[in-house]
């Protein structure tokens, strides 16, 4: 597009055409009310990588599409807010020249829906940033896939001009031009229904307006394909790591994908200035996900803990497992009086905890179950936090008191007394 307001009488109903009269040469070219009128938002046909959402938002706000894309990509990883905005706009916002999208809404309904989407995105962003509900890895994976598609589409995008020419063949193209075209022979800058992409504010030019403006040609980058270099470096690095591993040097499992991650990042940074970096973003994202997965799996403590200590000193103060089962039998303890005043913590992320306590000890059970079932001294319940106190079956003044702090995120808690409840 050009940055020149269309001549008087020229069609201006294209969504990105300067609205309501001539636009200033400098400064914002859209007013606040125009920005808030979300019903006028359209996905861009001409400036699109996937669905034209970023191009449409940029045009609506009159900002550089790169800014919108960077913000959306960054927000993908903050509570999935970017993904929420993108998918919702894809479904709700019509394409250029259309009045309805996949989800058919009138203007008012679309305004409300987009406001709700904005609110949800802010909630997702705040929830992730302030520790509400943690990092949404499933959304991140979906976002990564969308990113890969987005960049792939961008790489193979049609380098044709951004809109159909409407004037004579010597008129301006709808793509970027080298200066504003103001002569009457240039015709309208854009065709109705064929809005164009954002362009920086152009400065006045001395270029004669009747000169033809060359259509933009997407330049094919020269230089070596850095993807091949990255693959070679990764292969050498993995070979070296594996050799060290086999030689007895401790090498973390996550070091292998991390090596690919760093190599991809380094090559991408080089490729921003030099050579052809195609394919490295996908390689880097896959490496990042693999690194995260191996780190998480490496830290997982899975299995079974089955303990039946014979003395009170053999009873640990805490038992911890990420996935699996903890079975603790305290009935074999020969000196239960030494358990008096002690607190034993048992923690399982996903799995089961079973504790059997002797019948000559008072027991206070503080259970915290995220989801699942608990049976504490015969009382069954589901989820929530319970504090249950069970007295010893034997009477006496000096009955020791043991406290059990039991926590399971998802699974089962079972606390029994010796010989049944």
């Amino acid at each position: 597009m050009t940055t020149t307001p269309p001549p008087p009488g020229a069609p201006t109903d294209a969504p990105d055409a300067p609205r309501d009269g001539p636009a200033p040469a400098n400064g914002p070219r859209v007013t606040g009310p125009e920005m808030r009128n979300l019903a006028a938002l359209r996905r861009s046909r001409s400036d699109k990588k996937v669905a034209g959402v970023a191009g449409g938002i940029s045009r609506h706000l009159d900002i550089d599409p790169i800014i919108t894309r960077v913000v959306l990509v960054v927000l993908f990883f903050f509570g999935g807010a970017g993904l929420i905005v993108y998918v919702a706009c894809w479904l709700i916002v019509p394409l250029d020249g259309e009045e309805s999208a996949t989800v058919r809404l009138d203007d008012r309904g679309r305004n409300v829906a987009l406001a709700i989407v904005g609110g949800l995105s802010v909630l997702a962003l705040l929830g992730d940033s302030l520790g509400g509900w943690g990092f949404p890895w499933p959304l991140a994976v979906v976002g990564a896939i969308v990113l890969v598609v987005m960049f792939s589409r961008g790489r193979f995008a049609d380098p044709s001009p951004t809109g159909p020419p409407t004037g004579p063949s010597t008129g301006p193209s709808t793509g970027p031009s080298t200066g504003p075209s103001t002569g009457p022979s240039t015709g309208p800058s854009t065709a109705p229904g064929a809005p164009t992409a954002w362009q920086p504010v152009a400065q006045p030019s001395d270029q004669p307006s009747d000169q033809p403006v060359a259509a933009p040609v997407k330049e094919r980058r020269a230089g070596p394909r850095l993807f091949s270099y990255a693959v070679a470096i990764i292969a050498i690095g993995i070979g070296v790591l594996a050799s060290l591993d086999l030689a007895g040097v401790p090498v973390a499992d996550s070091a292998y994908p991390a090596l690919a991650l760093v190599a991809s990042g380094a090559m991408l940074t080089v490729g921003a200035f030099w050579g052809r970096p195609g394919g490295l973003i996908a390689l880097g994202l896959v490496s990042a996900l693999a690194t995260a997965a191996t780190l998480a799996i490496g830290d997982l403590d899975a299995g079974q803990i089955d303990r039946a200590p014979s003395t009170s000193s053999g009873v640990a103060s805490d038992y911890d497992l990420d996935i699996g089962e903890i079975k603790l039998d305290l009935t074999e303890v020969v000196d239960p009086s030494e358990l008096d005043g002690r607190t034993v913590e048992l923690d399982v992320g996903l799995g089961r905890i079973e504790v059997t306590v002797p019948d000559d000890v008072d027991v206070i059970v503080r259970s915290d179950l995220g989801a699942g079932d608990s049976t504490i001294f015969g009382d069954q319940s589901s989820g929530g936090t319970d504090t249950v106190t069970s007295s010893a079956r034997t009477s006496g003044a000096d009955v020791p008191t043991l406290t059990l702090d039991v926590h399971v995120d998802l699974g089962e808690i079972e606390i029994n007394r010796e010989g049944g409840n």
């Binding site: 550089d64 599409p65 790169i66 800014i67 894309r69 960077v70 913000v71 990509v73 960054v74 990883f77 903050f78 940033s129 520790g131 943690g134 990092f135 960049f151 961008g154 793509g175 970027p176 031009s177 080298t178 200066g179 954002w198 362009q199 920086p200 152009a202 400065q203 006045p204 001395d206 270029q207 933009p216 040609v217 330049e219 980058r221 020269a222 230089g223 996550s254 991390a258 991650l261 760093v262 991809s264 990042g265 380094a266 090559m267 991408l268 940074t269 080089v270 490729g271 921003a272 200035f273 030099w274 050579g275 970096p277 490295l280 973003i281 880097g284 490496s287 990042a288 690194t291 780190l295």
Partner: protein
Amino acid sequence: MAAQSTTGARHPLSIGHLVMGVALLGLGVVWGLIEGGVVEGDDIRFLLPAPWILAGVAGLAALVTSDRRALAAQRRAPSAPDPTSGTLEE
């Protein structure tokens, strides 16, 4: 966008690749800190957004620099091409 000259394999700065390169390198640093035991537990979740913030800042800084240089070049030579978003004249 106007065609821009390249010198050999060198080309105008690609903001998207710069952003992703910085982000991935940052994630590599985060991995090193975690694996080295420098950062543990809940501190990790506060560290994860850092590479993306850094990458975004780097991208925006490069973008601003690009536009400023393009506008400056345009003021010096009025017939020069328009500033091109996402690329840096070299």
